[in-house]
């Protein structure tokens, strides 16, 4: 019933206690198994805490420069259209340095699937301000709290990407309760199906934790996701293509 997914490597991860990257990894591996895609999948790892994707997910993985995973995935998918191609990216990666690559991959309707982990900070480099950092949130580079007059507003990628014609599926999920995890699996499953059915670009944004850099205990971090974070970043499906309605 609760076996290790075949596509998940049996090793200890390097993630901090209470970090949700691991949960997203598990959902990803389960979904790869569910569609029996392990042997025809190519993943693209980004720069950030999740770069070691290739140590945990038992599939071929390429590593992209910071933010460029959607472009690398484009190059893989164009060369091997019969393969299943996904990227796994943090918010610094996807919503800061890689905004251009993600917007244009989505706009081209690139037939890839993106798992986007939003923990409102740059985890790996020590908790600096990200484009998703909440107003008032203190980080190591917004020590007085993020102020929109100086830093602008937390960026809502799931909504933004949903506006693009090439996007087939865009949803935001969380993994802080069992019910949320069920919904997250459902969203990832839908995102996979979009690619399998060649409907276009699909993305699932995960609201995630970074207890280490938030300076919180794991449970407090859960609470933050359930409260403040999901208030500003509402969970839900922002776009779902039901048929290949593009011309």
């Amino acid at each position: 019933m609760f076996d290790r997914p075949k596509s998940l490597v049996d090793v200890r991860t390097h993630f901090c206690p209470g970090c949700h990257h691991g949960i997203a990894h598990r959902i990803l591996a389960e979904t790869i198994d569910r569609y029996d895609l392990r042997e025809k999948t190519i993943g693209v790892a980004c720069v950030g805490c999740s770069v070691f994707l290739y140590d945990y997910i038992d599939v071929d993985v390429a590593e992209a420069p910071h933010g460029r995973a959607p472009a690398v995935a484009t190059g893989v998918k164009r060369a091997q259209p019969d393969k299943f191609v996904f990227t796994y990216q943090g918010d610094g990666d996807l919503a800061a340095i890689g905004t251009s690559e993600i917007i244009h991959a989505a706009n081209r309707g690139e037939n890839i699937t993106v798992l986007f982990v939003n923990n409102t900070t740059y985890g790996m480099t020590g908790g600096q301000m990200a484009p998703t950092t909440m107003l008032g949130q203190r980080t190591s580079t917004s020590p007085y709290g993020r102020d929109f007059r100086n830093d602008g507003y937390p960026i809502k990628m799931a909504e933004l990407l949903a506006t693009l014609e090439g996007t087939a599926y865009s949803a935001r999920v969380a993994t802080s309760t069992p019910a949320q995890i069920r919904k997250a699996k459902e969203a990832v499953r839908k995102a996979f199906e979009m690619q399998i059915r060649e409907m276009g670009f699909s993305i699932v944004e995960f609201l995630s934790t970074c207890p280490t850099n938030w300076g919180m205990k794991p449970l407090e971090a859960q609470e933050r996701v359930l409260g403040e974070m999901s208030e500003y970043f509402p969970l839900g499906v922002y776009k779902e293509r039901t048929q290949a309605d593009f011309v």
């Binding site: 790892a45 290739y54 071929d60 993985v61 390429a62 590593e63 472009a71 190059g75 060369a79 393969k83």
Partner: protein, 358 residues
């Protein structure tokens, strides 16, 4: 990658198009790029012809995206090419460094323009440092080939693909607006691969084998040191095995010119004229700028009274010439950063160096 049984005949061809023909002959079916003058014939040709032969042309949103499309397709084990010019090549440096670190082969064409910044679109060899020393971070190398004719635009592009695959490394073809735009007769000789096409490291899904990665990150123990020495040995092997050069009328030359690409072509005319006047001038033309033909330059310097370096820049290759020989006192430079030197100008310099007045 069998050579197609086509009729081989001489035809009039433009340099930039010859690059496309060489790439296609070498089995390249993927081209990604972003427009910039003076290389637009290349994406235009590829966008017209690749789709009709089952290939892929994709115009990227930027050169940053371009080089990462390339990374993904190279990681898939396919032959892939891009072309650009100075400012665009600058944007590709990040990806080039990652590709060198991840050991991925691809061909990058730079039809360079003049000056830093937006500069000008005049033909120039101002990207010598960037190409030969490699502009990205971390200290990597790549083969750099400098064609001086339409025929070489074709044949050196093929060779660049072989070098890229042989070394699992990006390779560059460095030209300028003159070799790119000029038309001259060329012969489309068939492609003869010098490397086996197998790429067992390619990411194709892990069917029937353990998963594998293409990556440049090495954090554990001293893995990055081991990796860097491995890359270094590869560059050393290039230096041993891939030096390409042309000796032009060097026998008995007391004035030895060192020039590459378009500048070398003009020098050839000037050398012919000088010889007619009885001035023994000759040229050592580096065809591979990395690896640099240091031993051959030294040999020419040893035999000559003067070494004249001619470049369409303010003197970048001069540094490599100095590194090649102990005869620094013999080295002279004639340069034009934003234009082609005329044969008359070069002849004038040769006469001066030979002690003759016109």
């Amino acid at each position: 990658m069998k050579a197609a049984a086509v009729e081989i005949r001489r035809e009039l061809m433009k340099g930039n198009v010859a690059i496309c023909l060489g790439a296609i002959a070498a089995g390249c079916r993927f081209y990604y790029g972003y427009p910039i003058t003076p290389q637009n014939d290349i994406p235009e040709y590829m966008s017209t012809h690749l789709p009709t032969m089952g290939g892929t042309f994709l115009q990227a949103e930027s050169e940053v995206a371009t080089i990462n499309f390339i990374l993904g397709t190279a990681a898939s084990g396919k032959r892939v090419m891009t072309s650009s010019s100075g400012p665009g090549i600058s944007l590709m440096q990040e990806g080039l460094s990652y590709m060198a670190g991840s050991e991925l082969p691809a061909v990058i064409v730079n039809i360079s323009r003049s000056g830093p910044g937006l500069g000008g679109i005049a033909p120039s060899q101002g990207d010598y440092f960037q190409a030969v020393k490699c502009g990205g971070h971390g200290g990597y190398r790549m083969p750099v080939l400098a064609p001086h004719s339409v025929q070489e635009m074709y044949s050196l592009t093929m060779r660049a693909f072989d070098l890229a695959d042989k070394y699992r490394n990006p390779a560059m073809v460095l030209g300028d607006a003159i070799v790119g735009q000029m038309k001259e007769p060329f012969t489309p000789v068939p492609y003869e691969p010098s490397v086996p096409p197998e790429k067992p490291w390619a990411l194709t899904g892990c069917k029937g084998r353990p998963r594998q990665n293409v990556k440049s990150l090495y954090l554990k123990d001293n893995a990055i040191e081991v990796h860097n020495w491995k890359l270094f040995r590869k560059y050393e092997r290039m230096r041993e095995e891939e030096v390409l050069f042309e000796r032009f009328r060097l026998d008995g030359a007391t004035i030895a010119i060192v020039a590459f690409g378009t500048a070398a072509r003009v020098c050839k005319t000037a050398i012919q004229w000088a010889r007619q006047e009885g001035i023994p001038a000759g040229m050592l033309r580096p065809v591979s700028l990395f690896p640099f033909p240091s031993a051959q330059v030294d040999e020419a310097a040893e035999a000559a009274d003067v070494v004249l370096v001619v470049e369409m820049n303010t003197g970048q290759m001069v540094e490599d010439v100095r590194m090649s020989t102990r005869h620094h006192d013999r080295i002279r430079f004639l340069g034009k950063p934003c234009a082609m030197p005329t044969p008359e100008e070069i002849l004038g310099e040769i006469r001066t160096l030979a002690g003759k007045r016109p």
